[in-house]
Symmetry: C2
């Protein structure tokens, strides 16, 4: 790959001009195209694959929306921008981006309505059986830890996972609708097109791109701006080693082959700062069935480390970042059930002592943990981790068993959350906080709202939300 | 501050020329100057403060050296480059830089001899009473977790903390000697000089600097290269928020006011990649006196989380990254001693149950933890965390007490470990792995060997080691 930036004086001729060039047609890129064309801009969209969709199309399709959407209201849930803001501020890592979370929460109802206008259908039925994408075509789920400790005490819980109306994985339907809108928008879509360089002028402003199409390098001038929506870097092993090495131990990487960090690297080469690059979304789905939350998760020291009813994104992060990827779900004869996500049985025993030995846990450790847990569970409380009373029963019916939840032997689904630093209008920012003129970004090419404490739907939520703002910004700049 | 890079055509005239320009005169910069001048280069060294020294001069002065130095041999310790390599590979985070650790270990004896040649004195006496910088003028200490689990099983333990011969903090003496050598080297030293811009040519090569001296902007051409040794970013709150937010909760930031990330930002602006930016060295010194290791550290759930004889860098990292900054050191009447680093008493009780209540720990949690710990300690083992038998006694003599080791109420000493990605020759690398021509860096402006698992002395160790290589590289390039 050539150097990621090229000076405008080294470009012989522009083979194409447009107001806005969008790089990548996942959900963020589609949103950027739609907003830019809606503002009257002439748009060229470049997609490396043979068709749009990206990782969004292979996802569960959950969109984090709230503040009192039509679906929330129809399902009988009260929500407000303020409660949504409070939850996201508490659940989005140690340095939440307050400005982004503020505007994302305040304008979330309007963003929901935008999806409806693009033809995305939502069935106003709440799916209560577990959190995350439902197997049914129901439109609303809990997709974070809103109703689990400590978040249930920080903000009034409300489900905010909005799911397009189709049974199972809904990302395909979501992107089908958004891409149909893109087709109808008048934007020119170029597939199998790999943006390899940003063209910069003497002031460092981005004025176009060099893109490889059918083996040929082509130049496109962008009068208003270039919007990078090229995904994250979970499928770039070297970048993971340099920025998020903990994720390397996880088996299932959520992304296409093009989630190789190319958008982030283009932005960095043009002077953008990549931030929060160590953050990942790490899901350890111990449920469904939800009954399995009645078990307890222990680490390699035989010690509990989290409330088992926390959202699977939070559980996975804690297991990887804090427990070195070692976790077992301990169950008894009454609480055992076959997990939907297949997991090996790491050990069984007629007694906890036997199970402890089977798992090679320190002598007495699991017995001590269980003794304390059971004593509290009998009284219906969990003073250590505040698991909801719904899932508190003593584990006292032999035989006992442990499901293997180690990163070595089980499924953890991961993708990267770090990326280019952007303003709330999608402008790529330098380390000094200045905008790189003519350069915008959104989705997992950026560091958005998503951070440790990940809730499903935040990526599609912030990708589309700030993708729209980036597209609008680039279109405004073309007019100016 | 102006834009961090400027094109060479915008520079009206060079007011000064040199082979090598070194930015920052802490230990890394001093090493770069010494090696470049030794290679015959004309060197200008720029220092923002009124004199050299930087954070190195305020440090303990421990230098991580090994593989069989004269001091190690005189003190009766066997060591080899291979054992040093094995320890550092195991103790330097999830993605250790193997190439750097290899050369750092292999050439460590020669690096020790270089210090001696610069006039740094070492007394060949081992200080056994605790790890980290000694209060005496002894020259050798354990400064990592070499002799603690699990590292003692991975590599043959040897102390590698080499300390210049002066009682107490030795960083001042170290820098006095290195700066005297710099003075004698013939390099021009400019103090109160703030490097604000790198000058780049049309190919992106760094060809000089713009530096602010006495309120005036001055230009200096660098024929061979610019070496950035301007420290880390622990005193830049905004950069911490964006890159290492966990460190914000820690009270004592190890650094000068100039550890504001300016070197890293200059390098990024010139196309360098900053990596491992979330990493910090986080020290929680629960000892001396070493007797306090007989206590147990518990988190906010009343649960143990580490072997208390691990090095204080490892203890601090675990407390902050994994326990949300909540830790208490539990002691009984026999194990209590006054800690050298003042700590508040968080609670006392005639029984463990009473102490548990005092600390607001979950009911039964501390009692359960103590019961298990004491049972094992009576048999002289610690199957959970493998603390050495030397520190294993049951805690059973009332009254009981807890020293406050929370980040909120006690001292954690932190500095940043992330920075520019460099080759083993100190060249600054782009995201694609190419060298930015004419740009070198070392010390905490770079991501070096130091990573989670920090051992004292690694920063001065890798700063001087790769600082020398960077200075040599820039000098070579001037000759070419």
């Amino acid at each position: 790959m050539p150097r990621a930036i090229v000076a405008v004086e080294d470009v012989n001729a522009w083979e194409r001009e447009a107001d806005v060039v969008v790089v990548g047609l996942g959900c963020a890129g589609a949103a950027a195209v739609l907003e830019a064309t809606a503002a009257g801009a002439e748009v060229v969209a470049l997609e490396r694959a043979s068709g749009g969709g990206g990782t969004s199309a292979n996802s569960g399709g959950v969109i984090y929306l709230g503040g009192g959407t039509a679906v929330q209201r129809a399902c009988g849930f009260e929500d407000s921008p303020e409660e949504m803001f409070k939850y996201l501020m508490a659940a989005s890592g140690p340095a939440p981006d307050e400005a982004k979370i503020r505007v994302f929460s305040e304008d979330s109802v309007a963003h929901y309505e935008w999806f409806v206008r693009q033809g995305v259908p939502f069935k106003a039925v709440f799916y209560p059986h577990y959190s995350g994408e439902p197997p049914t075509d129901d439109g609303l789920v809990y997709s974070g830890s809103e109703n689990a400790y400590p978040f249930d005490e920080i903000a009034r819980p409300a489900p905010r996972g909005h799911v397009p109306q189709i049974p199972g994985q809904a990302g395909g339907l979501l992107m089908q609708k958004l891409l149909a809108a893109v087709e109808a928008s008048g934007a020119e879509i170029v597939t199998d097109a790999h943006c390899q360089q940003l063209v910069v002028d003497a002031d460092g402003a981005v004025v176009g791109v060099v893109v490889r199409v059918d083996g040929e390098m082509r130049t496109i001038r962008a009068r208003g701006g270039v919007v990078l929506c090229a995904g994250g870097f979970v499928n770039n092993k070297e970048m993971l080693e340099r920025h998020a090495p903990e994720l390397l131990q996880c088996k299932y990487r959520v992304g296409t082959t093009f989630d190789d960090g190319s958008g982030i690297r283009l932005g960095m080469a043009a002077g953008g700062e990549a931030i929060h690059m160590g953050y990942g979304s790490i899901s350890l789905p111990i449920v469904p069935p939800k009954k399995l939350q009645k078990g307890i998760l222990v680490n390699g020291h035989g010690v509990r480390f989290i409330n088992e009813d926390a959202y699977f994104g939070r559980v996975g992060e804690h297991a990887v970042y804090r427990q070195d990827g070692v976790a077992y779900l301990i169950l008894d004869a009454e609480t055992f059930d076959r997990p939907d996500v297949e997991r090996e049985i790491a050990g069984v025993g007629e007694s906890i002592a036997e199970l402890e030995t089977e798992l090679n846990l320190p002598s007495g450790s699991l017995q001590s943990t269980l003794e304390l847990y059971n004593r509290h569970a009998e009284q219906g409380n969990d003073p250590l981790f505040h698991k909801s009373a719904d899932w508190l029963v003593p584990l006292s019916h032999p035989p006992y068993g442990a499901l293997d939840c180690t990163t070595a032997n089980s499924l953890y689904a991961v993708f990267t959350l770090g990326g280019l630093r952007t303003s709330i209008d999608g402008e790529v920012l330098t380390p000094d906080g200045d905008a790189v003129k003519g350069l915008y970004a959104a989705g997992r090419t950026t560091s958005g709202i998503a951070a440790p404490g990940y809730a499903s739907g935040v990526s599609i939520g912030d990708g589309t939300f700030f993708g729209r703002r980036a597209g609008a910004g680039a279109a405004r700049r073309a007019r100016a």
